[in-house]
Each structure stands twice: as structure tokens, then as C-alpha cells.
Amino acid sequence: MTDYNFAYLDEQTKRMIRRAILKGLAVPGYQVPFASREMPMPYGWGTGGVQVSAAILVPEDRFKVIDQGSDDTTNAVSIRKFFEATAGVATTTHTTEATVIQTRHRIPETALTEGQILVYQVPIPEPLRFLEPREAETRKMHALEEYGLMHVKLYEDIARHGHIATAYAYPVLVQGRYVMDPSPIPKFDNPRLESAAIQLFGAGREQRIYALPPHTRVVSLDFEDHPFEASKADHACGLCGAGDTYLDEVITDDRGSRLFACSDTDYCEARRAAGHAGAMAAPYAETQA
């Protein structure tokens, strides 16, 4: 038995977060203020996502945590261990086996299904914040559906670079009403925001929760003559050979050699286990020895 309440937070706090989640689901894309708690980890490490996960986990869940697609980074490992210890939930690294997935800045490559919940860690939930620093103003802009400034920003991208240079945290319009920051996922992931899974977004420092119910219409902002494009590095994965996944660029020496590899480690491992091999892969059996 653990010395903590189930899933760490006290019941009063969980009720408050649960009410915020429900209002978030009722008004998709709208940022619901909530009384974010201090968590035993620093801001920027996913305190918002952790609080949302704590409020929704049940003992039967199988929990997965990814950080930029990887299950093995410090952030992912520590959050996974946190809920192993405080909620006693089973954990996994396999996307298909997980019922709740907490993520920092990626959507898994494997399409999520109806029984799954995706929890995002969000640093700055307000998509208009870098254009208008005053909260009172951005709140009014959302109320009045006054999103011209965002289109000006994308237009300035085109004027300066010839194309929309925003590559991550690419703004989306939810169900034709609210402009939403999808958290700093690469824009490659934007099309997968329309999902069969429930998606919940938690920003701990900024004290906001928002949500996308399944099958919510999510459109990446663009222009008729500059349509949205889900771009990625123009390579195949060096390890598993996949040509349709989001890639990390890894510098391998000081002479300019580099490896492009799937950012979603579980997806890449599953492909290698199934016999796929990229140009720079060691035989899979050898890597498991």
C-alpha cells in the first residue's frame, strides 16, 4: 500500500480538475482556468499533464508516457514511475496496449482508438499570447472570435520566408469556433488531432485545461494559396526504413554525418521487430542481445 492518496492528489483537488475537464469537453478548444497545484516536479516538466492524468486515472488503466515520442527520456521515465508509485497503475511502452497516454510534444504514429485517452503537457496554452501579451485582451479576442491577428502572423511568415514557417505549435481552429494551441507538437502531427480518442490538454504553470472530444473537427489555419502542409524531414528512418513518420535528426560525428530516426520509439521498435530495416540499422536480433 502506498502512503499517498490514489493518484497522489487529494479528492477535493481531483473534483476541481474533473469539473474543469468536463467544461473543457463541453466547449472544445476553450481554455478552462483551474486552480493548478504545486506538484513534486518543476514547472515545465509536465505538471499540467500530470494533474490531468491524476484526475482521470483508474486502477485498471495501463499508462504510457512519451517525451517527444520517446518512452525512455528522463521526463517520461519519472512521470511513469510517479504514477506507478502513487496510483499503482500498470505501465507500458506500447501505444496499442495503453489506455491513457501522457505526451510531451508528440502524437503517437499509431492511430489511437476509442478506448484511449491522450493527455498533453502544455507550456503556453494561449495561441495568441506571443501576439498579445495581455490576458484580458486575449480573452476578449476569443470571446469575439477576433482571430485576424493570427492570420496576420501566418501571412508575415509567408511575406518573410515565402511559406508558413511555423513548424510546431501550429494553430488550429476547433469545430469552427476557437483557435487553439495544440501544444508544441510538430505540425506533422496536426492532422491526427482529429481522433477517435479523447484528448485532454493540461498547462500547470498557466493554470489552464482544454479538451478535444473524439471526432471533433480540427482545422489547421492556412490560406487558399498557401494550404497547410504536414511537413517532415525528407528522409526515411535510418533504423526501420519508414518513410511516413516524423523524424529526429541525430548528429553522429563531427564531420557532418547524421542519422534520421523515428521520433516515436515504440513505433520504430515495433517495425524493426517485424523485420523492417533502414539504411543504417544493425540487425534487430543483434540490438536485443
Binding site: N5, F6, A7, E11, Q12, K14, R15, M16, R18, R19, A20, I21, L22, K23, G24, L25, A26, V27, P28, Y30, V32, P33, A55, I56, L57, V58, P59, R139, K140, H142, A143, L144, Q175, R177, Y178, A196, I198, A211, L212, P213, P214, H215, T216, R217
Partner: protein
Amino acid sequence: MSTHLTGGFDNPPVQSALAFRAVMNALARPGRIETVAGAAAPAPVSPAAAVLLLTLCDAETPIFLAGAHDCAAVRDWLAFHCGTPVVTRRAEAMFALGGWEALAPIGEFSVGAPEYPDRAATLIVEVDELEGAGARLTGPGIAGEARLSLPEVAAFAANHARFPLGFDSFLTCGSRIAGLPRSTRVETD
């Protein structure tokens, strides 16, 4: 003997977590009917409504009790288990509990403000029957369309028309529950 001391969760952290998962699924997928268990409040409160109260209500959530639900037994049970203040003006309520007719005039409940649409009431509507048939639902959470038996269509259609403002509803019947957020478009056919 008074029953207001009984009917709570035996294991609140786990039971409220399980209940919330069902409640969240119901609201995120309008038209889906979930089953909940573990709570029993005095009549006429249904088991599903009792679970909702235990899972979502506390001292921070003023509640409006409508019609037969506004009785001493229910007030005592709420006070003991949730500590929820009971208000008599609809406009002050974050939650409301009762039959559909008793909840009227529905227009007095808070629908939130343009800058804070989350500050809207949540209605727990006790219904005699709850089935996946009747009014047509479309919108977020629904692939294609869903069907749900509603006590009235016009009021929910009008509620959706002023999205993002509007109240959100749960329909409860026995131990079964369905969610109807303001984002759902409701039509007769």
C-alpha cells in the same frame, strides 16, 4: 432511522475515479449511455445522480434542487456527503438536480459569460426513460450521428444555438447516465 449517513462511496478515491471515467465518456460522446454504481441517496434521487453528486459536488459548487428533489432527506444527505450549499435561485447554481419539468424555467440557469463560458450551470436531469433513440445528435464527440431520448428537443436546440454559451446536461435514469453538452446540435429529424 435517518438514512443520510449511508449511501456514500466505500472507497472514495477509486470509486470516484471509476465514476468520473464513465461520466467523462458520457459527456465526451453524447448519446452514449454509461452505467455507474456505488452510491445511494434518498428518494427521489437516482443512483446515477447520487454518483454524479459524490463525484463532482463539494463545498465549492452551489446546487439548486428542483421539485421533489428539494426535500429534507436529500438536503441532509448532500450536506453530510458533499457539504454542498443548496441555493434557491437558479442563477446562483453551478449544479441543478431534478426532473425536467421541475427544473423549468431553464432560462434562468447560468450559461456562462462570453469571456468565461465555463462558468455555466450543469444540469442533472432525472428522466423516466433513457435510450439511444429519439432526437438526432451531431457535433463534437459523435462520429456521424447519435440518437438519444430527450425530455424536450426545443430547449436543448436553443441551448446549442448560443454556443459557446449554454448549460451542460446529464440525463440520469436508475444507474444509467448520458451526457449532453452545449456543443451538441439537437434535432427532431
